[in-house]
């Protein structure tokens, strides 16, 4: 098949997969899907529970993939949507809607009801979505809207988690009471137990009767899943559990009913091994179900911000509709305390809005006509109306959620090692179990076995165990302790927590690799205009000669510049208005190209421009020239003003630094990061700005196309470089840098190119991004070290490496306890990241704890 034809049929789906518990499940699903004809690429994420599949749609479809996933023991939950479909008039319409919707990939069933004007559709989320279904119906000429009131995604996820939790809770209730009784029964003859434990509890048949339900009710899930996978050539952790539980139970059963069979007899029944082994594994599953969702809380928190309904003005009336029915251009009414449903522009009213959930900024922001509002932010005090400008998947919140989800679905380079190890581990462990069995069967038992030997933390004697039973026990223990669950969880759980933490602070990492790369940064290049500076000129100085007041000079300058459309003129007008000065209209205005402007106002002739203008008009500027040079040295644009033929002063205009730029640069330098500034501006202006902010490396007069080359130069010095920019001209440098950081207020091109997006335009978030990256990587490394140490030390211990010297052995149940604790400890360690705050955020929180927040004043 040619490349062109191939790409025509190439499709992508992101299928939700339930029931995966560890990295081996991921490997199992990936491997199974990859074996299917037509599947090109598969990426499965354990924590988000999604399988992203790229496939040839002419060779394979979503149903086959779903069936394959189900066959190996996992669930692909279906989503159901109930739509109101208006405009259908007969059975043919019903058939048409049904046929069209059924033809969409991922749709499994459609039931259209004409009298009820409804359509009940079941589909696989990720393959198709409600919006597409609705659009398809609308394209046929019918009206389609959702009957239910949103929140489904959240509820479904919660429901699935609760279902798993309920299942494992039931298993815990079966496994633990019975396993405790089995353990008491097994040790009935020891210590003080004979005094209060009834004799029948020590009876092997009773013990067998209590162990059997444990192995086959809570333990059944492991047998079922492992067999489903195995018959398709895929393995996972369940196989380790199944072989472990199965072997222990089998020995116990044989020794109970056929004590003379040579397995050690009734003295080596090991019921507690099978029972506690299952109980501990179930405990691990239960704790995982309890804690795993917490690492993805950020997404859930973001999703929960979405308003369910919106009050819009339709036909002059205020009507409440589902939020996804709001259309661009709709006028939406928001009352105090309500969540703003979609993005838009305020048309009427005044209020202050809490935007902390989107920007991380704790101060509420004033909103009046013309202000932009963002969906999911909370209206605090007044009521206002706004015009919807972005709805559905286009809103800032929807894009943030998608970006965080996408980031969490990617894999960090550091995860590749863990994935490789975990993916090949199961087969390796079984080979190891085979070697352990051969060794203890043919060599170890004869050479080292002592009838007095014991399990660690157990008074249980192995005296009656024969060669087979002994070798089998060690082989089983090796299988159990080897589970690489912790290894599989180490990286993705930390990435989820890290990207979530970033989102909470207005820092969006586009992928796991962005998190990892940001932790390694040792150089940051800032674009000047719009990044370090506000990107628009402002009046910085008003210098006057004797006899002229500052406000008068500024006012006259503003009046003179008012008709001009020059950005510098606009800056002067803005500056005067900000000072509360009245800016009247000139009686006469004339632009003098290359020199400046001349205007008359209330009989006064005002000249404003450069030295040449003053020279031309024969106006003596006296010592103003010296001041001019000083301003120019500082990178400012200085303009002379003369009133009625007399020099009145100088107005200096410059692009001013953002509030926190200096602080951010200082913090970066303290962190050992080299900071440079890049700009197309002339060197003098660039150096003036750089001096103010404390940057010594200035790359000035760099053409847009050369910015990437400057990044390469630094990379060639062995530096890991981040480029921070906002403009289209920064895009190549953003792409070239190890990490491209785009400012949220910047252009779409910059945001698309960047690896990290700062929602607020606060430069301190560059520091925050690096800090979060470093904290996440620290957590990943801690997790990986712990997981590797656990497996590296656990396996030899379980295989009996200490036995020849100490006579102690790790029992299968102790191995299962260690295994459960290893993954729980990794998850708990990751959850500590939730308490982490970037340094600036910490400072902000400290400050806000000591002061009552006031809204930011607009004017």
């Amino acid at each position: 098949m040619s490349e062109t034809t191939r790409s025509e049929h190439l499709a992508q789906v992101s299928l939700p997969v339930q029931g995966m518990t560890c990295a081996a499940c991921v490997a199992k699903v990936e491997k199974t899907l990859k074996t299917m004809t037509g599947v090109q690429e598969v990426h499965v994420n354990l924590l988000s529970g999604k399988a992203a599949v790229t496939y040839e749609s002419n060779q394979i479809g979503v149903p086959q993939m779903v069936k394959m996933i189900q066959d190996i023991g996992y669930e692909v939950p279906e989503e159901e949507v109930l739509l109101t479909v208006r405009g259908m008039s007969c059975a043919a319409c019903v058939a048409k809607v049904e046929k069209t919707i059924k033809g969409m990939p991922g749709v499994t069933s459609v039931v259209v009801n004409l009298p009820a004007e409804s359509a009940k559709i079941k589909f696989y989320p990720g393959a198709v979505d409600k919006t597409r279904i609705k659009k398809e119906i609308q394209a046929m000429g019918y009206e389609a809207s959702e009957k239910v009131t949103g929140q489904e995604a959240l509820d479904r996820e919660k429901e699935a988690r609760q279902k798993e939790l309920r299942f494992q809770t039931r298993n815990m209730w079966i496994a633990w009471p019975l396993a405790s009784l089995v353990m008491i029964g097994m040790f009935r003859d020891m210590w003080i137990f004979p005094y209060f434990v009834p004799e029948f509890l020590g009876n092997v048949y009773v013990l067998w009767a209590m162990t059997t339900p444990i192995a086959f009710i809570p333990g059944w899930q492991f047998f079922k899943h492992s067999w489903n996978g195995l018959k398709r050539g895929a393995t996972d952790m369940n196989l380790l559990y199944a072989t472990g539980i199965g072997a222990s139970y089998l020995i116990a059963t044989i020794n109970t009913f056929w004590p003379d069979a040579g397995f050690g007899g009734r003295g080596a029944a090991f019921f507690e091994s099978a029972a506690l082994l299952t109980a501990f594994i179930v405990l691990g599953r239960y704790l995982e179900a309890l804690t795993r969702g917490k690492t993805s809380e950020a997404i859930r928190n973001l999703m929960s911000l979405q308003a369910k309904t919106a009050r819009v003005i339709r036909n002059g009336e205020e009507v409440e509709i589902a939020v996804d029915e709001v259309e661009i251009g709709d006028i939406v009414f928001v009352r105090p305390g309500e969540s703003i449903p979609v993005d838009g522009e305020v048309t009427d009213g005044y209020s202050v809005v809490d935007e902390a959930m989107i920007t991380g900024e704790s101060m509420p922001v004033e909103k009046r006509a013309g202000s932009q509002v963002t969906g999911a932010t909370i209206n605090k005090t007044g009521s206002f109306k706004f015009k919807a400008t972005r709805v559905g998947g286009e809103t800032a919140l929807a894009q943030i959620i998608k970006m965080v989800e996408d980031a969490q679905a990617t894999k960090a380079p550091i995860q590749k090692l863990a994935d490789f190890v975990a993916g090949h581990f199961i087969a390796g462990v079984h080979v190891l179990a085979l070697i352990v069995f051969f060794f203890w069967f043919f060599i170890g038992y004869d050479a080292y076995f002592l009838p007095t030997s014991q399990f660690v933390f157990s008074p249980y004697s192995l005296a009656e165990v024969g060669v087979f039973g002994f070798a089998l026990l060690l082989s089983v223990t090796t299988l159990i302790i080897s589970c690489p669950c912790a290894l599989g969880l180490a990286t993705p759980s930390a990435i989820m927590a890290g990207t979530g933490k970033g989102a909470e602070n207005g820092i969006l990492f586009k992928g796991a690799d962005a998190v990892e790369s940001s932790s390694k940064l040792n150089a940051v290049i800032f674009d000047k205009t719009g990044t370090l500076t506000k990107g628009e000129p402002a009046v910085t100085d008003v210098f006057t000669t004797a006899g002229f007041a500052q406000d008068d000079v500024l006012r006259l300058a503003a009046i003179t510049e008012k008709p001009s459309e020059h950005p510098l003129g606009e800056a002067i007008v803005r500056g005067a208005k900000e000072k509360g000065l009245s800016v009247g209209d000139t009686d006469d205005f004339e632009a003098i190209p290359g020199h400046g402007v001349r205007a008359t106002y209330q009989g006064q002739t005002i000249l404003m421009g450069n030295r040449r203008l003053m020279k031309l008009q024969k106006i003596d500027i006296g010592n103003l020239n010296q001041k001019m040079e000083q301003f120019e040295e500082e990178g400012k644009t200085a303009m002379l003003i003369a009133v009625d033929g007399k020099a009145a002063g100088i107005i200096a205009v410059a692009d001013i630094l953002k509030e926190n730029a200096k602080e951010a640069v200082e913090r970066l330098q303290q962190m050992g990061v080299q900071v440079a500034m890049i700009t197309g501006d002339n060197r003098r202006t660039a150096e003036a700005i750089a001096r103010q902010v404390g940057i010594t490396t200035v790359l000035a007069e760099v053409l847009p196309q050369d910015k990437a080359a400057e990044v390469i130069k630094l990379q060639e010095k062995g530096l890991k470089v981040a480029m921070v920019g906002d403009g289209i001209n920064d895009a190549p440098a953003l792409a070239q840098a190890d990490v491209g950081i785009a400012i949220g207020s910047g252009t779409d091109v910059a945001k698309e190119t960047g690896d990290i997006i700062l929602i607020k335009s606060d430069i301190r978030d560059v520091v925050g991004a690096i800090e979060i990256g470093r904290a996440t990587m620290r957590k990943i490394k801690q997790n990986l070290v712990w997981a590797f140490v656990y497996n590296i030390t656990g396996i030899p211990l379980a295989a009996g490496i200490l036995y020849p010297f100490t006579g102690f052995l790790v029992s299968p149940e102790l191995a299962s306890f260690f295994m459960a604790m290893s993954s729980v400890s990794v998850t708990m360690n990751t959850l500590l990241l939730k308490r982490y705050q970037p340094s600036f955020r910490k400072d902000q929180l400290k400050t806000s704890a000591h002061s009552v927040p006031q809204p930011q004043t607009a004017r």
Partner: protein
């Protein structure tokens, strides 16, 4: 399951079972030749365990290889 998949499954079964039986046979041979006397239970139990583990090791290796070979 389509015809190709069924063919791959049958072929895989033959290969991984044969390999597992070979390992089991090696185990059995060692029990005879290594100079130690083993009970029948130890011998049979050992063979059973070795066979199970070998199947678990070979199934995930053999199935994808054969499947790829048969189905392309």
């Amino acid at each position: 399951m389509n015809e190709l998949e069924a063919k791959a499954a049958r072929k895989s079964f033959v290969v991984y079972t044969a390999l597992s039986l070979a390992i089991t046979l090696i185990f059995l041979v060692i029990t005879w030749v290594n100079g130690t006397t083993y009970t029948a239970v130890a011998r049979i139990g050992g063979m059973f365990w070795v066979f199970i583990l070998s199947m678990i090791v070979f199934m995930p290796i053999v199935i994808p290889v054969i499947k790829k070979k048969v189905m392309g």
